[in-house]
């Protein structure tokens, strides 16, 4: 799958993403189920807000963690997120 970096992703209406204090992580919630996200996945998912492009998400993360070349990691995770139906492109 090729991801177009100018697209603006949003969490699909059939999923919910939130920070869980008791678990100490972001989780993806769906009917009768939950996936715990590791720290980097959580940082990416929490920036998927239906307003920020993939390009911008990568820039934000690189600035927040003072790192460069995060693009591959971000795209790799987003591919998983698209594939699981957690996110979709905003029309």
């Amino acid at each position: 799958m090729t991801i177009n970096k100018t697209e603006i992703p949003e969490v699909a209406p059939t999923f919910r993403v939130q920070w869980e204090e008791a678990q100490g992580c972001y989780v993806v919630l769906y009917p009768e189920g939950m996936v715990k996200l590791n720290q980097s996945s959580g940082e990416i998912m929490s920036r998927v807000d239906g307003q920020t492009s993939i390009e911008q998400i990568i820039k934000d993360l690189e600035a927040a963690f003072s790192e460069s070349n995060l693009e591959d990691d971000v795209l790799k995770f987003l591919e998983v997120a698209y594939d699981n139906g957690w996110i979709r492109n905003k029309k």
């Binding site: 209406p13 999923f15 204090e21 009917p31 009768e32 939950m34 139906g85």
Partner: protein, 385 residues
């Protein structure tokens, strides 16, 4: 790292899943209902304030998934209020319903209150059988409700309990779920607890029926990949290893009966164990400290063949309720396991029931009538017990 023999309180993880059985009242009378046969006994339902307190306490401990169930949860007039509070607390809220008692206005109110997901049950894929099994004229209404649920962009689970009376229609059932655009389909084989246990002779499918149904389910799982997730679990009476019931006793699941009794699963009320009531006790106290919730935690309680079994950490010896129902002692291995000395007895019973089914198919005998789930039959069953 502590050993299994010296379990301490710090080993207890908080509940993640809260199943709120709001009421045992239900307009349907399905003869395989997993509610206790003693539903007529549960009179004093928790109030709105009680439920709010319980939801707050469980959420504080870390519970994330909340199921509003029953009976029929739509019977509770405070359902909207409870959903709103649950969503406000940060739960992922699931409504598990027959759809009877719902209309578009109520679906909209649920959406406004923040409900995340609706699961609708169907009894069959044709009107006659659906209405017969449910004991109500509900089929067309259910279909209409499923359409409205999708219209309001809810993720929708369709749940169909599968047994001998409808298993041969599995293709039609799956076609119906495709037509209704279900996001998830649960083909829930009848497990033999509660009402389905007393109707097991009429409900247990044959091996041949199962093999056919499994093949059809597999076909649709492949066909619908990416569009609809189809889950099909066969009845465990046909297995040789038990299910890891509830992922362990008091490990992640907390069920609350309509009267406030806290249980490790929705069947555990039948066990000769005292369980705490949340009218008198906090969720934290009940979950962490009550003897009921600690009864089968860890591995110390086990007897042979489980005690020395290398698989005990995987399946926890199976289901305590099934062990109790089929052997008289809840500590025993679940007889589904072929290491259980009671396994042969269960297999013989399955054979006996399958022979009954063959006779029924050949129309040689009149089948026993199904005992429908209602308050009258509940009272009768309790008197006879």
């Amino acid at each position: 790292m502590t050993t299994a023999g010296s379990e301490t309180k710090s080993d207890i993880n908080p509940p993640l899943w809260l199943l709120a059985e709001l009421t045992y009242k239900c307009p349907l009378q399905c003869p395989y209902c997993s509610n206790p046969v003693e539903i007529a006994k549960y009179q004093n339902e928790l109030t709105t304030e009680d439920w709010v307190r319980v939801m707050q306490q469980a959420r504080k401990m870390g519970a994330t998934q909340l199921g509003f169930s029953g009976g029929e949860p739509l019977v509770r007039q405070d359902l909207e209020e409870l959903i709103q509070e649950a969503r406000h607390l940060g739960y992922y809220t699931n409504l598990i319903t027959s759809g009877v008692g719902m209309d578009e206005a109520r679906v909209k109110r649920f959406k406004d209150a923040g409900l995340d997901h609706i699961q609708i049950s169907f009894q069959a894929s044709n009107e006659e059988l659906n209405n017969y099994l449910g004991g109500t004229k509900s089929f067309q209404h259910k279909k209409e409700m499923a359409r409205i649920v999708k219209e309001y962009e809810y993720p929708m689970v369709l749940n169909i309990v599968i047994h001998r009376k409808n298993i041969d229609q599995i293709r039609d059932i799956l076609d119906m779920t495709v037509e209704l655009k279900a996001d998830y389909v649960e083909l829930a084989s009848t497990q033999y607890y509660g009402w389905s246990r007393i109707n097991v002779d009429q409900l247990l499918p044959t091996r041949e029926q199962l093999a056919n149904a499994e093949a059809v389910a597999k076909e649709y799982q492949d066909k619908m990949k990416g569009k609809s997730k189809i889950i099909y679990v066969i009845p465990d009476y046909f297995e040789t290893r038990p299910k890891p019931c509830m992922n362990g006793w008091g490990a992640i699941f907390l069920t609350i009966a309509p009267d406030g009794t806290a249980l490790p699963c929705h069947e555990a009320g039948q066990l000769p164990i005292e369980f705490p009531n949340l009218k008198d006790m906090s969720v934290q106290e009940a979950w962490n400290d009550s003897p009921g919730f600690n009864h089968f935690r860890g591995f110390d309680w086990m007897v042979e063949p489980c005690r020395s079994c290398p698989e005990k950490t995987k399946d926890f010896g199976g289901c305590r309720c099934q062990a109790f129902m089929l052997t008289g002692d809840a500590r025993n291995a679940d007889p589904v396991c072929d290491k259980s000395p009671y396994h042969q007895q269960l297999q013989d019973d399955v054979k006996r029931i399958n022979a009954l089914a063959e006779e029924e198919f050949d129309n040689k005998v009149d089948e026993k009538p199904l005992i429908f789930r209602n308050m009258k039959n509940s009272k009768k069953q309790m008197e006879e017990a």
